[in-house]
Amino acid sequence: MGELEGFYALWYREMKVFTRERSRVVSSLVTPLLWLVVFGGGLGSAVSLGGVNYQVFIFPGILAMTILFSSVFFGLYIVWDKKIDFFKEVLVAPLSRTTIFAGKMVGGSIDALLQGGAMLILGYFLGVSYNLVALVLSFVFMFVLASALVSLGLIIGSNMESVEGFQLIISFLVFPMFFFSGALFPIDNLPPYLLIFTVIDPVTYAVDGLRGLMLGSSQLPIALNLMVLAGFAGVMIAIGTWTFRRLK
């Protein structure tokens, strides 16, 4: 009961921050929007892939990107929490570290889902059509992806002392995860040097799964994609919980 309330407290806090720090929310939607509208629209005027307009083709990838960016950044945000010492107040509470981690993780995932939801509405206007099942399963995919990536962000963020390392993480982790995921290109005929990274990149499985749900064309069965993603999420959550237990 107490742990549940603590969990609710952490989630409540994240929701309040989400609704108040609108600039943060808006700015994290800007990058995917630019990709979708400018890159997708520009290239889409000349190119179509897999039988659909290029802009529609990359939409599932951009959706995954939205989740990727907002989730990892949410996790990294813990560096600021530590800085204003607010996190000290949380850490001194009689709550298990698992609860603290879970509250943060779920709070961040729901943040990311809301942004994904906004993108889905936009997609509808760009000509992506979804049935109800696809829509529900898309949210499942997004949630599993978000929980994995928020955990990843929290793991990195809680091991960082300052915000100086942010650029490194964006350059060497976040952008590669986006580019190798096949968000922008089909992955069925990749040269080996690209394929290796694409297979390693967990975001690939989210993009492929979402593409299967929305456009009906995936390389792997949708269930397999979800299983790989869930496995990745499980590992990240386990490491994250372990990291939080060791936090001072």
């Binding site: 603590g6 407290a9 309040k16 921050v17 800085k83 107040e89 949380v90 001194v92 509470a93 298990s96």
Partner: protein, 323 residues
């Protein structure tokens, strides 16, 4: 008397720096206990170890009967803490901060609203409860954090520099409240402070701590009595120290520039004699010893008083710039 806090050779080392050195403390239930010392003396480190935020390098302690190494959760549930640095969430309102705390510290649902209103009233923040903390002044923020520390009815309240940066009226208000709380609810209060007047006014007992060690521990009045006389402060042009030092009723002499600080037994009887010997006196002040003099007596150096507001802003600046 039951000890609510006991430590055995509690020590903390940061690299080569011994921040807390073999501390043995016994703090009784219901007292206001002060850890008095300059910045960097090890007060906050001691507090953090007792609150299970820091692991001691060696030694251990018990808080409310719980072992700080083996039962950290039980320790945490039974204590309240007000940190030295701001630790409220500045994106949330004051009320939301308290609500979060009530959830995390398991305040029963039916008492939450009443407890929150109660502590808000104690620090006069009812009117600002729904403002975002970012809009609070440094002093208001500390009041909010003090309220938060009391919210879950802790049996021990740790206050790390509790009135740093508050205006005199608010300090007085909070001091009164702390005293009331101890009287009414049998809460033990552990204060770290470098304000002499605060320790003197509030604390039943004071441990003077310097370089991680307790150099003196007693009631403020007893500590002051140990200085052994009154303090005579003189401003003298070309002071002649040697004959003064010979006098057997002069217990100690210290000089900084043209200012002399003497500890004198029976100062009122001997003042004239001293004035005759010391040189051309520009001003004289005779007063009872303060804890500052006690500190000087035990450590040979004076506690530098920080101006309150400046302290807070320096702290905030330090926090903002990443320390």
């Amino acid at each position: 008397m039951v000890s609510t806090i006991e430590t055995e050779s509690l020590s903390k080392k940061y690299g080569d720096l011994l921040a807390v050195d073999q501390l043995d403390l016994k703090i009784d239930a219901g007292e206001i206990f002060g850890l008095l010392g300059p910045n960097g003396a090890g007060k906050t480190t001691t507090l953090s170890m007792l609150a299970t935020l820091l692991k001691p390098t060696s030694g251990t302690g018990r808080v409310n009967g719980y072992d700080i190494l083996k039962e950290p959760d039980e320790v945490r549930r039974s204590i309240g803490i007000v940190f030295q640095d701001p630790s409220s969430d500045d994106i949330l309102t004051g009320w939301e901060n308290l609500y979060l705390h009530s959830l995390m510290f398991h305040v029963p649902k039916n008492e939450r609203k009443q407890r929150i209103d109660h502590v808000l009233a104690l620090v006069d923040l009812q009117d600002r409860a729904n403002d975002i903390v970012k809009k609070y002044s440094g002093g208001m923020r500390r009041r909010l954090e003090l309220a938060r520390g009391l919210l879950h009815n802790p049996r021990i309240l740790f206050l790390d520099e509790p009135t740093l940066g508050l205006d005199p009226q608010t300090r007085e208000h909070i001091w009164q409240y702390i005293e009331n709380l101890v009287k009414l609810e049998k809460v033990t209060v552990i204060i770290t402070t470098h304000y002499m007047d605060e320790a003197d006014r509030l604390c039943n007992r004071v441990a003077i701590i310097d370089h991680g060690k307790i150099v003196a521990l007693d009631k403020p009045s007893a500590l002051k009595a140990k200085v052994g006389g009154e303090i005579v402060k003189l401003r003298v042009r070309d002071p002649k120290l040697e004959p003064i030092k010979e006098l057997d009723y002069v217990l100690s002499v210290s000089q900084s520039g043209s200012t002399l600080l003497l500890t004198v037994q029976g100062a009122s009887a001997h003042l004239q004699e001293i004035l005759n010997m010391v040189g051309q006196v520009e001003s004289v002040e005779v007063r009872s010893p303060t804890l500052n003099d006690v500190f000087l007596h035990y450590t040979g150096s004076e506690i530098r008083e920080e101006s309150g507001e400046g302290g807070v802003f320096e702290r905030i600046a330090r926090v903002r710039s990443g320390r």
